[in-house]
Homo-oligomer: 239 residues x 2
Amino acid sequence: MSQQQQTSLRNRLLRVLGPNDFGLLAPAFEQVSLTLGHHLTEANQPLGHAYFIESGLISLLADTVRPGANRVEIGIVGFEGMVGLPIVLGTRRSPHVALVQAEGRALAIPAPVLDEALNSSRTLRGVLGRYAQSLIVQVGQTVCANADFNIEARLARWIVMTQDRLGRDDLPLTHEFLSLMLGVRRPGVTTATHMLEGAGMIRAQRGRITVLDRGKLLELAEGSYGGAEAEYERLLEEG
Amino acid sequence: MSQQQQTSLRNRLLRVLGPNDFGLLAPAFEQVSLTLGHHLTEANQPLGHAYFIESGLISLLADTVRPGANRVEIGIVGFEGMVGLPIVLGTRRSPHVALVQAEGRALAIPAPVLDEALNSSRTLRGVLGRYAQSLIVQVGQTVCANADFNIEARLARWIVMTQDRLGRDDLPLTHEFLSLMLGVRRPGVTTATHMLEGAGMIRAQRGRITVLDRGKLLELAEGSYGGAEAEYERLLEEG
DNA sequence: GTCATAGTGTACGAAATCGCACAGTATGTG
DNA sequence: CACATACTGTGCGATTTCGTACACTATGAC
């Protein structure tokens, strides 16, 4: 495909790369569409590519082996990140699934090319390594959120995180879907949604949630939001 | 200090290194004692050293900013791992705390030395990068465990994980402490302990839990244990 | 042996969440 | 327009876990 202009990209990892590092990757990029419901990576299957997200939203899910239990979301990725961290960390498999939750675009790069680029550039390793660190922080924050916060606060957290990554105020989310993301019952989401709507934080329509008052949402989410995001910003600047 | 013999070490990461990679690190190692309750790393403070654990047990804790809420455990590290992954990933700070939970020993290495060694050896990057991946999997599994399993199953999981890392059957654990680790009330741990004891899985004494029937514990923990551990073994072999 | 202290056992109402079932309502398709 | 389908709203008892309080008991220090 035709080569990408670095400055025309939205992916923040790619934008922060030096021209040399970008040049290592750019020739191999292939633009791909992210279709709703598609699995970008499968659990325990070889990862052929890494994906730098340009737009849309990806959920990282972990399987619980427990019969009857659904997959649980451990993290989300948007244009600030990438899917395929295991490649960066030296392996080609992972027990996680990357699910497209909101459609968008990404730049795909073959695993061997990324691997080679990482081995030839210390600074590239720095940027992607720090992104891995920020993901660890994000997952850790999810542990905290699930341990200490009720459904409403977690819903608020999730909405704000999604808004960040989609860069829009209207988010295409069904209750069914949110229940999966938060690991709760579907009616529990309905109730929590009403609460947020009653408080003027959001407007809920069929299959869509619109953010009305981000400040109030943040207030409700208290400490469960923010740490990972601040860490991400800090890490990106370190580059 | 005197140089370490690679084969006399217990740390599994160090043992799996090639002699050249080990040689990069060995001259800088300093043996340190891990004292109960000591913080090996502090949240958001510069990490001066990484620690390859020889014995004992370390908990990785994340602060919830929420007032009144306690720290929550997101992962544990024993002789299979290391503390100070952020250094491997290209930064010197992290919002997590590494708390010594059972005393032991570790080999400390100054961050700049580790950094330099990583930059000069692709294989070393491979081993420690894959360890980072295994930690991500472990934290993800914690998310699942907290979402889908009751206190008893989570207690069983935690006991088995601790047994793995201490290499003993008698574990120095108070209910108070376990309640912190599992993110539940202290009396909840007492009740769960009784259940496991009644089922012949453990013997509980003041400040100590002895594993009697690991098989039954695993059965109770169901899918919440095993995935991360299998992934660790797989990743170590890939080296 | 006495004593302070850390650790453990138990109780009980309150709250959150669950599991399930079913009714209602947008939305798009033919 | 009719209809199937997906999504949302609601109810209710069951269950888990919480918050809190208090009593009891090993254990080690003196």
